[in-house]
Symmetry: C2
Subunit: 122 residues, 2 copies
């Protein structure tokens, strides 16, 4: 997926700036993890699921009705959320109830909403 060969098609213009930024740059994997995390939030189905679960724990059927989607589609997205440990689940009889796993996530979603609401005002 990553090439080692040089693909950049230009000369460096401000070598000093580039060098000093390069030295402070976090491990590439860390920024990949970061973008992977945001990627999970970056889908409207998952964003709506997360918002809904922040209001109340729910089972797959409830979410399917709420968002007017198939159980399968919901389940697939819940899996992605589970693997990113953004939601947790518990079984109760025939139902599996999902809820938000992490308080960080609530804060980040809140900050995000704040951001776009301010943006819209301008």
């Amino acid at each position: 997926m990553k090439k080692d060969e040089i693909v950049c098609d230009c000369d460096v213009i401000h070598a000093d700036v580039v060098e000093s930024v390069r030295q402070r740059m976090p491990d590439e994997n860390e920024l990949c993890d970061l973008s992977d995390f945001f990627k999970v939030l970056g889908d409207s189905t998952r964003a709506r699921i997360l918002w809904a679960l922040d209001e109340s724990e729910m089972c797959v059927c409830d979410l399917a009705v709420l968002l007017n989607m198939t159980k399968s589609a919901i389940s697939h997205q819940l899996r992605a959320l589970r693997e990113a440990t953004l939601v947790k689940n518990r079984r109760d009889g025939k139902n599996v109830f999902y809820s938000i796993a992490d308080d960080h996530v609530k804060q980040i979603i809140e900050k995000g909403l704040e951001h776009i609401r301010e943006q819209k005002q301008e």
Copy 2:
């Protein structure tokens, strides 16, 4: 893109919960805007560009060298960032310097990094 017809393939199980969540649910467009915002952060190239610009303003060539990518690829991603008003630019002679547009973004990136760093410890 959206269908009006009912695609949900199950009965509602907890009608009361679903109804009360539905009533509090934000406008669908708002949650779409939210996920679109996170989508912009959800790509490692853009995440690295944002991180770098948070350290120092830079021109396209500098970024291309730093990330070892073509000017074109960088430029396309800067466009996405510009359209989401996450970066701004100014021309100075032959160069176009890019920088972070919004302080919110820095905070959200910081919170995101915090999150994944804690996650990794567990």
